[in-house]
Symmetry: C2
Subunit: 458 residues, 2 copies
């Protein structure tokens, strides 16, 4: 990375799901939280306005299509706790948010397992048009058994198969977005009555192991053509997919040191695939708990712990790791688990935990939230360290919705701006131009989306 | 129908697609038309505001997933003319329109062939939440070869198979919408920390010939649970599907007499399926060309004919009927075609045409638009006749977007209101309560959506 790269402001996204409780389970009960009103448009419109006022780069919606169902052998705990269920489709929130914002990036997850690529391609072209080029797509492949069972399968496909499917899916949508309509195909010639030059619009005639798609793409080219592409993969195959395709990748490193390892590895893989190291932005998930003094911040953090639901935090951990921790003794130190049945998994978590004397309860609270606790200045110091480790931005995890973002913008953002860590104003143009200034609205030619080919005829 | 039924105001929907040119092809070139800006949010927001100001009941988006490709043996004419291509996804327009309206119904087409029912069910639940219960779903089964070829098939499935698939699809989404979450499942109990009562949320465990869906539904019950259901089927199987499922059905009768035949037939079928005759609203597609005098209206109609593109109107007719009319002599009277290769089809059209001396050109202009030409009073007289024939409402086809609707609201609506043909204000409640006053927000128990069952456990 160049020195100037290290001094660019970080990217700030609000990191959410369209649900009651995303990560800090139990917080929906807090009197200040509006999370239980997630079905109402006004919550999201307010949030989008707040984020744009605070010059956040984007709002980023994670999503899943099946509940976590490992804790106590099923999904009942998830339902009881509002643990990412009930939930709503995130994609249909984006056009509503576009009506009250002008610059905010609008990023939603859409699963390769759930949507046909032809239909998905038109939907995201439409969103890119309606938002003036502010849309991002977070590609996921569907990892949960519960998702698979909602979509006609017995279990999630094996890892390699999912990434092979995602690879072909990407090729199909790239052909539709990048090759079906030439740049000058839409002429809107009122004299001759030709809306499009039909000689410059092409079928894609994709025939692959999983998909057959004739085309042409139904949508005319949108400002970005291909929406900004996010992908988060932590396995070797996932990292490789991100290295090939992603313009932004969400990471959940335990500390700047391990973030440096991931970013270096994925950037190296990207270069091996003919891309540039700075073609990918690494966005670290972090939670901020801030006070005027460190003591105040620590007191707030302790208060949050009181609100958290142990059962839901444990169910989230069980669901993510795939081991039912329902019967575990939450008050035992992590270090004690080395001889248990679950020792491999717990030991893995313990290895990442800085302090082996912490209890399992503390681990569940700490594992998914990456809490940064301190004064605004201490937060800025922490973010400097993340930036030095090669991180380009932060997915800000909420504790309380929408209060977390309002507080961050009021108390932390001014300090970050003074330190050059957060943008003061939006750059012009599409989301891609805002995040990769000077490169134009489209993907660079070295990206695989620009390298797909279709037969010349038709 | 009761006498009072015959005196209820008609339902008025704006009938559109998210595209350049829906039915009156060539009109996009007119200086007053904004159709060529269909990719911009502002056009649709303006239109929605206009429609709500004029107390239209709903905005109704038709859709297809493949271009018309019969004329000259392919889709090039469609692309050249902007004939429903390029197009955008209509579903993602709805949440944007919800932000600028309070009462307007928001109806979009979504195809059984294109969307998985589990994903579709959550998307429409989300829309119903975000809009406060104003969403309708127009069920289509996918009839075009070009659609099929975009979705992995060689051709559209046979008619009976498509309706069998639609039947199972409806069962799956009904189970998710109506049975997965009991009415009192969502408790939001901040004291106990239970968002939902997990004993009242159920898997659906649907196993059928086409779909296997475990559930539970991801979304909590929305105001209408099942969105208002539209379906337009003209074949016997289509009429039967409408009779079972539809709350609104779009018809394109040539005159009130044939409308009376359709409405009576479908209502009879509905009663045979255990529904009431007035459980289905029949919405006739009509185009209005209005002047202060009949002479002025006729002159406007002639002016519209001048703007229409013969090539595109013919391509639309070729695409709909499935016969390439590219080489036909547009100036020959319809009556002359009785000995041609295409005689069966043309004779069918000619039989429906009131005047056999009309030319083929006149037929293409007349066939899809059902033009009513006259003064506002003459339009009201015409609508009285449609209402007497059992029609409950009108899908108003645009000539120019958004001018058609603004003109209708300014010049025709006041006369219709004076005659009791159009509502003066919105009724309270969801779209279903607005269209079926006094029945509550949910489907009646006699509807098949309320009669699906799931296993009691889980």
């Amino acid at each position: 990375m160049s020195l100037t790269h290290g001094r660019r402001p970080l990217v700030f996204n609000a990191f959410l799901t369209n649900t009651v409780s995303h990560i800090h389970h139990g917080m929906w009960r807090h009197p200040d939280s509006r999370q239980a009103r997630y079905t109402e448009l006004e919550l999201w419109l307010d949030l989008a306005r707040t984020l744009e006022r605070g010059h956040f780069d984007a709002i980023f919606f994670a999503d899943t299509l099946g509940p976590m169902d490992v804790h106590e052998g099923g999904w009942k705990t998830s339902v009881r706790q509002g643990l990412q269920i009930p939930s709503g489709d995130p994609v249909v929130l984006l056009p509503a948010l576009a009506t009250v914002t002008e610059h905010l990036g609008l990023v939603a997850t859409s699963s390769v397992a759930a949507e046909h690529p032809f239909v998905h391609a038109r939907r995201f072209s439409t969103l890119d048009h309606l938002t003036g080029g502010r849309v991002g797509w977070n590609i996921v492949t569907g990892t949960r058994r519960s998702e698979a069972r909602n979509l006609g399968h017995d279990d999630a496909a094996p890892h390699a198969e999912r990434y092979a499917a995602a690879q072909e899916y990407a090729e199909v949508v790239y052909k539709l977005w990048e090759r079906s309509w030439e740049d000058d195909a839409v002429i809107r010639d009122r004299e001759s009555g030709r809306y499009s030059d039909e000689t410059r619009v092409h079928a894609i005639d994709h025939v692959g192991p999983r998909y057959r798609v004739a085309g042409p793409h139904l949508a005319e080219p949108s400002p970005q053509r291909t929406p900004l592409i996010f992908q988060a993969g932590s396995s070797p195959a996932g990292r490789d997919f991100a290295a090939r395709h992603a313009e932004g990748t969400f990471i959940a490193a335990h500390d700047p040191h391990s973030a440096a390892e991931v970013t270096a590895d994925v950037r190296r893989r990207a270069v091996a695939h003919g891309r540039q190291a700075d073609d990918i932005l690494f966005i670290q998930g972090l939670t901020f708990v801030v006070g005027d003094t460190e003591t105040e911040a620590l007191a707030r953090s302790a208060e949050i712990d009181e609100w958290l639901s142990d059962e839901a935090m444990l169910a989230h951990m069980s669901g993510t790791i795939g081991v039912d921790f329902a019967a575990i003794d939450l008050d035992r130190p992590i270090g004690d688990f080395t001889t248990e049945r679950t020792q491999g998994i717990v030991a893995g978590l313990a290895a990442a935990a800085p302090d082996k004397s912490k209890t399992f309860r503390e681990l569940t609270r700490w594992a998914w939230s990456q809490r940064v606790v301190g004064t605004p200045e201490q937060v800025a110091d922490s973010l400097e360290r993340w930036r030095q480790a090669g991180v380009d931005g932060v997915n800000v995890i909420y504790i309380s919705l929408p209060g977390t973002y309002a507080d961050f913008i009021e108390h932390v953002a001014p300090v970050l701006r003074d330190r050059g860590l957060m943008q003061r104003e939006y750059r012009p143009g599409t989301l891609r131009e805002k995040l990769f200034p000077g490169r134009g609205p489209r993907l660079p030619r070295r990206h695989p989306a620009r390298q797909v080919t279709i037969a010349a005829a038709g």
